[in-house]
Amino acid sequence: MTRNMPATVFGAIVLALGIAVLAEAGNIPKGFGYDVVGPVMLPKVIGGGLVLSALVILGETMLRRDEAAADLAMLDFRPVILISAALLAEAALISRLGWIPVVTVLFAAGAWGFGDRRVLFNLLIGLGVAVLVLIAFRAGLGIDLPLGPLERLSTPAN
């Protein structure tokens, strides 16, 4: 376990990605005869390029100490996990619940991640921001953000 650990891990990930790209590129159907390059060539070049960059990274890592990388032990990963969860929940639920609830939660999660522990208060502010954006976009720009269950209220049955 040296200080070069992060760079080595990164190099390994890039190497794996390059190999995966090369493998997947083989599955792309070939183009037509008159198209000399075809759709496969660039992906293959990219796969090769990724493998090459990985080798350069691993080589560089072995040859010198990496001073630029942050000390991973100093990092606080809890806010990262919380904010990630809120973003993914937004992606999963925005079609079903609409813009307002998911964005309210996203705002509050962001605020919590930055050390603000007033959950209810921040949910209220998030709600205000979400509603304001929704109205501005609907009325001002004609861009419809999803309403979710509120859809039934906005379009009166006739």
Partner: protein, 502 residues
């Protein structure tokens, strides 16, 4: 002259009341988002892009021009008052700008930045007005192999300059970032054969990955996660503005030369690939320090150290527009996002755009003059509003940035898959920041990849499969060998230099 009549026609388009209003809204919003600490111009333009979706192209681009200049300017406020530069181009401004703010001269620092931005922006826009038609005249002569070589060269410069070992970077990191971007660019249906590439059966991926989603993810979400993991909600100390905004006679006489020098450094460097805004601001700062009669004041609040780099920063923004409009070649991340905006409207910047869409191009150029003027008249009176934006507590600020990021992403195509991608790129951006991997090559690779592939296939279609076409065209041969040298030299250097030391 032809340019004048075109420019006049452009003003006729830009000076309609509606377009003046869009320009003003663009400048104000661009500044408002650009002011937020940690948000650079590329992110600002990307986040605000959906706002223009409902407009017709000419108005949309006039608003964009305002956002672009506003964002470029807004960064200086955060650098001066909070010492939190949102992007590399604002870093030099932060040194003396923040020192001036600590000494209670923050107002003067903001004023010299605002007036300097106006002067530089105007002079550089004049430069753009005359350089763009010249570049177009040249560009018409370029063939597909030349375009291919030009784009390869611009990727090579970005990768080599940003990842160079002497700058503390790994060339391998730059290369990995570049190829990752190129990979993202291939996702979706191949435009020539209709074959799906790397879509993994997800229908939303067939249309390709939006540059805006990647830019917002890598920059805005990546930065948010990074700050959350490192500093958390610790509030920056802000220096209050005291006294009048007016510059004293001494301030004026110390500012005007750096403004002009900064302009002449910023414009040409902004126009070359990988020039961006970082290098011209550093050059301007070092030059002012060298020319100054009081070099010891630099770092302790020398007004020249704000005036020069700020002018260079804004001039480079106009410089970057010349190759973007005339050749379709983005030289900075912000230009890459602007190119994505053009593509959103089905427009392809380049020599043809000047032919087919002259009103749009010249209306856009004319609106740069107007936007620049609005920037000056709005910013000095509104400075207290920007200051209030800066004092938003960090938890709310970053909560708001997350909301803006998902708004910008979701409203593009109204699909939830883009939000998943937003998180993915946010996490990738976070990891890249942790390791010090440059983000810029990735963005440029993403936007240039498909264009490069297109020109490559076009070249080989013309030459009927003969690969020597890139060597028999002299311009292409020259540019490609330059590109190869740029990338291979630091790799070679990295290995030989270290071996010599150990």
């Amino acid at each position: 002259m032809d340019t004048f009549s075109h420019l006049l026609a452009g003003f006729a388009v830009a000076i309609t009341p509606a377009n003046l209003m869009w320009s003003m809204i663009g400048v104000t919003l661009g500044t408002a988002i650009g002011v937020l600490p940690g948000i650079g111009p590329a992110t600002t333009v990307a986040i605000l892009m959906p706002l223009t979706l409902g407009l017709e192209p000419v108005s949309a681009f006039i608003m964009f021009a305002g956002i672009y200049y506003g964002a470029q300017y807004g960064g200086s406020t955060a650098s001066i008052l909070l010492n939190t530069p949102g992007e590399a181009g604002a870093m030099m401004t932060a040194i003396d700008g923040n020192a001036m703010a600590r000494k209670g001269r923050g107002a003067q620092a903001l004023a010299t930045a605002a007036i300097g931005s106006f002067v530089a922006g105007t002079v550089a826009t004049v430069g753009l007005t005359f350089a763009a038609p010249l570049l177009v005249a040249m560009a018409i002569k370029l063939t597909a192999p030349d375009y291919f070589a030009l784009m390869v060269l611009s990727l090579a410069t970005v990768t080599a300059v940003i990842g160079r070992p002497s700058g503390g970077g790994f060339i391998g990191y730059g290369l990995a970032s570049l190829f990752f971007g190129l990979l993202l660019g291939t996702v979706g249906l191949d435009p020539q054969t209709g074959q799906a590439r790397f879509a993994f059966g997800i229908p939303e991926l067939l249309d390709g990955i939006d540059t805006v989603v990647v830019a917002v993810g890598l920059f805005a979400v990546g930065e948010t996660l990074h700050v959350a993991a490192t500093e958390g909600g610790k509030q920056d100390t802000m220096h209050q503005l005291k006294g009048s905004l007016w510059l004293s006679r001494q301030d004026w006489s110390r500012s005007w030369k750096p403004w002009l020098r900064g302009t002449f450094i910023g414009f040409p460097i902004g126009a070359i690939p990988a020039g961006g805004s970082e290098i011209p601001t550093i050059l301007s700062y070092t030059l002012e320090k060298k020319l100054s009669r009081h070099p010891e004041e630099f770092g302790h609040g020398a007004i020249e150290g704000v005036a020069g780099p700020e002018a260079a920063n804004n001039a480079s923004a106009a410089g970057a527009l010349s190759p973007l409009l005339a050749l379709g070649l983005p030289t900075s991340t912000t230009a890459a996002v602007l190119l994505a905006a053009f593509q959103q409207y089905g427009l392809r910047p380049g020599p043809m755009l000047f032919e087919t869409n002259a009103t749009l191009v010249w209306g856009l150029i004319a609106s740069l003059y107007i936007g620049n003027f609005f920037l000056l008249v709005l910013n000095l009176p509104m400075v207290s509003l920007w200051v209030r934006l800066l004092s938003i507590p960090k938890p709310w600020l970053y909560g708001g940035i997350l909301v803006l990021a998902s708004l910008g992403t979701y409203s593009l195509n109204s699909n939830a898959v883009d939000l998943v991608l937003l998180w993915v790129f946010g996490f990738v951006g976070f990891s890249m920041r942790m390791l010090g991997v440059p983000v810029v090559p990735c963005i440029l690779g993403l936007i240039l990849g498909p264009l490069i592939e297109q020109q490559l296939r076009r070249s080989l279609a013309i030459s009927q499969g003969d690969w020597t076409v890139f060597m028999t065209h002299p311009i292409s041969a020259l540019l490609l060998s330059l590109a190869a040298t740029l990338v291979l030299w630091p790799v070679f250097q990295a290995f030989t230099a270290k071996r010599a030391r150990t």
